[in-house]
Structures are given as C-alpha cells and as structure tokens.
Subunit: 206 residues, 2 copies
C-alpha cells in the first residue's frame, strides 16, 4: 500500500484547516487521522501528542498573523499604522477563526518566548511609536490596545454583536477611530483627574 506522505508540517497545516472548519476545540488527533485516511497511531510518529498538535497550530497562527501585521505596517505610522494593524487582526480572526483561537492557546514559557508572539507584541508596541507615549504610559496603552483588539474580536466570534443595531463592521471602525484620537490626546497621569465634568466625588473604591 502506498504511503500517505505525512510530515509534521503537513499535519499541522491540515490541523489548522480543520480548526478553521470545526473549531480549535474540536481538533483531535482522531479527526485528523480520518482526514488523512490513516490510522490514528500513524500520526504519533510525527507528533508528540495532542498538546503538541495544538501548540503547532498556535505557532503557525502566530506566525501567519505576525507576518500579515508586519507587511501591513511597513511604511505606515501613526493613525495609518493603527488602522492597518486593526484591520489585519480582525480580518485574520474572521478568515481563520480556528487558527485565531489557537493563537490564544497557552504555550509554555520557553515555547512562547521562541514564538512569533514576541515579534507580534513588538509590532503592536511599534504602532505606538507614532504617538507621543513613553515608559509606563506606553505599556498601559499597549495593554489597552491588546485588550480591545482581542476582546472585540473574541466577542464578535462568539456572536456577541450579530443581529443588533449598528453592524459590527461600523462599530469596529468607529472604535479604532476613537482609539486613535485617544492615543493622540492621551491624558496626563495626573493624580486628581476629573478634568471637565461635574465635581468629582471622591468615592471609596469599595
């Protein structure tokens, strides 16, 4: 009988396809073997198991996403860079929901440190070079952007914004626009904020 021609790369690639089709959670060594027309045990010559498979998809997704972001960011700065990054991020998640979910799979520290994830994080921080933010404030801003992007895309994929008044497309565009404005006019970390509304009652936090 002829061989199936498996290899770690092909397997991870098919697994990524499968993830996009049926969801990252549903990616299973069994389903993958069926897809290759091969017995389950055969895959274990190329994989270290289920965790390894998921890690592989995650690394692939991080790399693809980061490459897209790098391409989109080349030659852009400030607002244009922010828009480009945001578009790439959301488009990737919508085109490849399974891979996107995989990119959030928890990697062990060494694997994560060697992954495209760090390059992706650097790119996001690079977007902020177009704005006037430094030190801790820049970090806060990076975390804000990361949270909005991930949070929005994640809620959207869960179906959170479907079938309601302004369509998700519009909200996304508007939010990114608003964030650009926020970054351009990033408020000083003055301790008594409360700049321009009715008097601030100093409420206890709990």
């Amino acid at each position: 009988m002829p061989r199936a021609g498996l290899s770690a790369e092909r397997i991870i690639g098919e697994a990524a396809e499968l993830a996009d089709e049926v969801g990252f959670e549903q990616v299973t060594v069994s389903a993958l073997a069926r897809r290759f027309g091969v017995r389950v045990a055969s895959l274990y010559s190329h994989l270290d198991g289920s965790h390894d498979l998921r890690t592989g998809i995650a690394l692939l997704a991080l790399e693809e996403l980061t490459d897209r972001a790098a391409t989109a960011l080349a030659g852009r700065a400030g607002r244009a860079a922010l828009l480009a990054f945001a578009e790439v991020y959301r488009d990737y998640a919508r085109q490849h929901p399974g891979r996107y979910a995989a990119s959030r799979y928890r990697l062990d520290p060494e694997t994560a440190a060697a992954s495209a994830g760090v390059r992706h994080a650097r790119l996001l921080r690079a977007v902020l070079r177009g704005y006037d933010l430094t030190g801790d404030e820049q970090t806060h801003a990076v975390r804000l952007l990361g949270s909005v992007f991930h949070g929005y895309v994640s809620l959207e994929l869960e179906g959170g914004f479907s079938h309601s008044a302004p369509d998700s497309e519009r909200s996304w565009a508007r939010i990114v626009e608003v964030l650009d404005g926020l970054l351009r006019n990033w408020p000083d970390p003055s301790h008594s904020d409360a700049s321009r509304t009715e008097a601030s009652q100093p409420e206890a936090s709990q």
Copy 2:
C-alpha cells in the same frame, strides 16, 4: 447504602468549584462523579449531559457576576459607576477564573435570552447613562467597554501581563481612568476626524 444527596443545584455548584480549581475546560462529568464519590452514570439522572453541565455553570456565573455588578452599581453614576463595574468584573474573574471562563461559554439563543447575560448587558449600558452618549455612539461605546473588560481580564488570566514592568493592577486602574476620560470627551463622529495632530494623510485602508 446511603444516598449522596445529589441535585441539579448541588451538582452545578460543585462543578463551578471544580472549574475554579482546575479550569473550565477540565470540568468533566467523570471528575465531578469522583468528587461526589459516586458513579458517573448517577449524574445523568440530574443532568442532560456534558453540554448541559457547562451551560449550568455558565448560567450560575452570569448570575453571580450580574448580581455583584448590580449591587456595586446601586447609587453610583458616571465615573464612580464605571470604576465599580470594572472592579467587580476583574475581581470576579480573578477570584473565579473557571466560572469566568464559563460565563463566556456559548449558549444557544433561547438560553442566552433567558439568562442573566441580558441583565448584565443592560447594566453595562446603564453605566453609560452617566455620560453624554446616545444612539449608535452609545452602542459603540458599550462594545468598546465590553471589549476592553473582557479582553484585559482574558489576557491577564492567560498570564499575559505577569512579570512585566508596571504591574497589572496599575495598568487596569490607569486604563479605566483613561476610558472614563474618553467617555466624558467622546469625540464627534465627524467624517474627517484628524482633529489635533500633524496633517492627516488620507491613506488608503488597504
């Protein structure tokens, strides 16, 4: 032999505990049976299966979270309400990571419509009553807040912000503060934005 005294409520409650201890993904009918010192099949008299179990945890979490939010929001408006909501949200997620993950479990539409989720969404929108936002802009703002809250908490639980320069606590506080400022000075949806920085190059979006 004496009975274990199971009931749907007790089972869901234990399942929520288990989720917080080992993670929502790891909550399994088997593990739960072991915890009760009971055979697996015994739980099937009280549950419709695994999906039903997860749904139960999700509904419990949504209710707890919403109750906390409602309590925290009573008598507060504007900035104070935003701070309170944010604190409740993050605290709940940190105290009950498994339940929090459960609260993001995808429910079927009817179940979702009858869940505390809709009350929770109303509460978040109510927070915005303290700011001057209406119509679509209010919806965009609700989605922004939801994204930031969920995104931040989710990244934090994944370990994204640990062991790096400004601790997560500070970033959270600062981000909420910045959001308050943003909501108070929400920019007009003017079509040619680019209000106060260097001349805006009209870059194509792709």
